[in-house]
Subunit: 375 residues, 2 copies
C-alpha cells in the first residue's frame, strides 16, 4: 500500500503551506490518498492521523478499499464532517484546494466550524495533492504501462473498421466495445474519431459522419484501466494522398519525434513544447498548431505538468506526459494551397504517452507505429 | 430555437436575486442557454444581450452551435472574460452560481474586475439556471422520449447476454456497444451490472464478476442522446427463486408502482417518496431501502427535483423524474432469514423515468416490462 507514503507527502505539503491539517474532497485526490473510489468522500489528515468520510451507500466499499483509515459514515456532506472532526481534534488551520472546492462548499464548511476558529480555519491552497501526483510511484507506473499497452492493442484491432463509408461513431463503438471486453473500466475521455474535413477540428468527437474515400482519419482515445488513464492519437489516411497532406503529416511527425527526444529530467516543459513548435514553424505551420504540446496524465486525463510555451516547470523522473503536436488547416489558413485535395480542410495529430526516466524518456505507446499509414 | 426564451427566464431569475446580470460557466447550463457544447465556455447575460466566451479550440463549433449570441474567442478563462465584458458594459452586480464556481475561479473573476466594483460585483446564487431546467420544454421532452425509448430497446437487446457465467463487464460492454451503434453519444453514467451478492450494492458498477446460476442481476444504465440522459433499472433473476427473493421483488415492484401512481402536478416530492417508502415499511424493508426514491433528469443525470423524504417542492408539468425504490439485504439486515438462497445477500431495484403531465404522470420507459423476469 502506497497510500500511507502519499499521505505523508500531502500533510507535509499542507504544513509547508502554513496549515496544520489538510482536507481533500476532489475524487482522484481522495482515491490517491485513501484507495476509496466512491463518488462522494473526503479525506482529513492531521499529523500522522487520517480519516475518510462518506455516506451510507459506500459503507461496504469504503471498508474494503480504504483499510487503515478511520472511517466515518454520515448523511451530511463529507467535507463538513471532515472539518468538524479536525476542529474537534484541536486543529485551527486547515488547507483546502481552492481549485476543486466550490464557493458553496466552502461556505458550508465555514458554517459548520466553531465561531472561535471560523475566520482563520480554512487556508486556500492550490493543487497540493495534484503536484504530488505529477510524479508517479512504481505502482502507478505499472498500471499506466498496462493502460498504454491496451490502448496500442485497441488501435491495431480497430483499424479493420476504418474504411470509407463507415460512420465515425461506429468506429468509436468498436473501439469502446473492445476496450470493455479487454477489461477497461471505461474510456478515459470522449473518443475522438475525426475524418475528412472534420480532422481539421482538434476536438472532433465521433459523429454520424461517414469516413471519406480520400482523406485523414484522426483517432484520439484512451482507456481507464485500474483507475489510470491512457491517451494516444494516431492519424491514418484513406485513399490517394496529396503532396500537401503528405508534407503536413511528416512535419507533424517530425515535430512529435523532436519533442519526444527532448524529454529528460531537468528539462523545462517549455523547451519540450518549443522542440515541437520550432519544427512546425520552419514548415510554415506555426499558426496551424493551435494548442499546447502535451500534459501530464494519470488518475485524470489532464494533470500537471503542462507541456506548453514558456512553462518553466522542470521534468522529473516518474512524470508521465503526453506529446501531441498537431496541425489543422482551415479555410482561414494562410498555408492552404488551392490545389489541396477536396476542400483542402484537414488536420493531423500524433500523440504518445512518455514516461520521464532517470536517463530520458520512455514512450509507453511505442507499440503503435507512427509511420505514414494508408488504408 | 428555444435558447432565447430560456435566456429570458435566466436573466429574470438573476434580477429576482438582486443582480443586473448573470454569468454562467457550468457546462450543461451553458449548453441550455446557448446551444454551445464545448468543454470550456461562459455565457454572460445582461438585459436582452447575451455573449458566449470560449477559446480558440472551439471557434468553428461555437459559431455553428451558438448562432445569435455575440461570440468572443480568447485564451483567458471564459469566466474572467465574461465579467470583464459585463463590467465594461456598466454592470455593477452580477449573479454567479456558488454551487458550480470554485473558490479559485471566483478569486480570478474578482481580480479581473475594476477596483471600484470589485467588492460588490459578484452576487452568490444557487442553481438559478438549474431550477429553470427542472421544467423541460417541448424540444427537451421530445429528446428525452427518444433517449428513454432507446434505453428500453437496449434492455431488450442485451437480455440474451444475461446468462450464468457471463462477466458483468461483458454484459455492460454489449449494452454500451449497442447504445453507440444506435446513435448514443455516450452512456449517461457508469453502467451498473450487479449480480448475485453484488446486487446488494446500490452502486454496483460492472466488474469482472461472473453472473451466478441462481440470483438477481440488476441492470441500471442510461444513454446520452441528443445531449439528454436516459436512466432506467430492471432487476431480473437467474435460476430457481427463493420465496424471500420473490417476496422482496414484489414489494419493491409495488412500492415503485405506488410512487409512479402518485406523480401529478402539485404533489409534494416528499409524498411521492413516502408512497414508495410506506409499502416497503409495511413489508419490513424500511431499513433495506437506504436511498431516496428518485431525482430529476435531463441534460445531467442528477437534476432537481429531489424525490426524497420530507421534500416540500411541488411537482410541475414538464418535470422528468426517476422513480427507483430498492431493497438491499445485507448481513446486518434484520430482515434476512437464514434460509435465503446462497448467502442471503441480494438486492432489487426497479426504476422508470416519469414525465409529469397536466393530468398526472407518463412513464417514458414503459416499453420495458417490470413484471418478474426469470432467465
Amino acid at each position: 500500500m502506497r497510500e500511507r507514503a502519499r499521505r505523508k507527502k500531502a500533510i507535509a505539503a499542507a504544513v509547508g503551506a502554513g496549515a496544520e491539517a489538510l482536507v481533500v474532497t476532489h475524487g482522484p485526490d481522495v482515491r490517491y490518498l485513501s484507495g476509496f473510489t466512491g463518488s462522494s468522500g473526503a479525506v482529513a489528515l492531521v499529523g500522522g492521523r487520517a480519516a475518510l468520510f462518506t455516506d451510507g451507500r459506500y459503507t461496504t466499499q469504503a471498508k474494503a478499499e480504504a483499510a487503515g483509515l478511520r472511517l466515518v459514515i454520515d448523511k451530511r456532506s463529507p467535507a463538513v464532517q471532515a472539518v468538524e472532526w479536525l476542529a474537534a481534534e484541536g486543529v485551527t488551520r486547515c488547507a483546502f484546494d481552492a481549485g476543486h472546492t466550490t464557493v458553496a462548499a466552502m461556505e458550508a464548511m465555514k458554517k459548520a466550524l466553531p465561531a472561535a476558529v471560523r475566520r482563520s480555519f480554512l487556508v486556500a491552497s492550490d493543487g497540493l495533492v495534484a503536484r504530488i501526483r505529477e510524479v508517479k510511484d512504481e505502482d502507478e507506473i505499472a498500471l499506466m504501462r498496462k493502460a498504454a499497452a491496451l490502448g496500442c492493442r485497441l488501435f491495431e484491432d480497430v483499424l479493420e473498421f476504418v474504411v470509407a463509408g463507415a460512420k465515425e461513431s461506429d468506429v468509436a463503438a468498436q473501439l469502446e466495445f473492445k476496450a470493455r471486453m479487454a477489461g477497461a473500466e471505461a474510456m478515459s475521455f470522449e473518443t475522438i474519431v475525426a475524418s475528412g474535413e472534420r480532422s481539421a477540428l482538434p476536438h472532433g468527437r465521433a459523429t454520424s459522419a461517414k469516413l471519406p474515400k480520400r482523406g485523414f482519419v484522426t483517432l484520439d482515445f484512451g482507456v481507464l484501466l485500474g483507475g489510470y488513464c491512457s491517451d494516444m492519437t494516431r492519424t491514418v489516411h484513406l485513399g490517394k494522398v496529396s503532396n500537401r497532406e503528405w508534407d503536413v503529416y511528416h512535419s507533424v511527425l517530425e515535430a512529435q519525434q523532436e519533442a519526444v527526444a527532448r524529454v529528460a529530467p531537468g528539462v523545462r516543459c517549455g523547451d519540450v513544447d518549443e522542440a515541437a513548435r520550432s519544427v512546425l514553424r520552419k514548415a510554415g505551420l506555426e499558426k496551424e498548431f493551435s494548442h499546447s504540446t502535451g500534459h501530464g496524465v494519470g488518475l485524470e486525463i489532464h494533470e500537471g505538468p503542462r507541456i506548453a510555451a514558456k512553462q518553466e516547470q522542470l521534468l522529473e523522473p516518474g512524470m508521465v506526459i503526453t506529446i501531441e503536436p498537431g496541425a489543422y488547416l482551415s479555410k482561414q489558413s494562410r498555408s492552404l494551397p488551392k490545389s489541396a485535395s477536396g476542400t483542402g480542410l484537414f488536420g493531423v495529430r500524433i500523440e504518445d504517452m512518455v514516461l520521464v526516466t532517470a536517463a530520458g524518456g520512455e514512450v509507453l505507446t511505442a507499440a503503435s507505429p507512427k509511420a505514414w499509414m494508408e488504408l
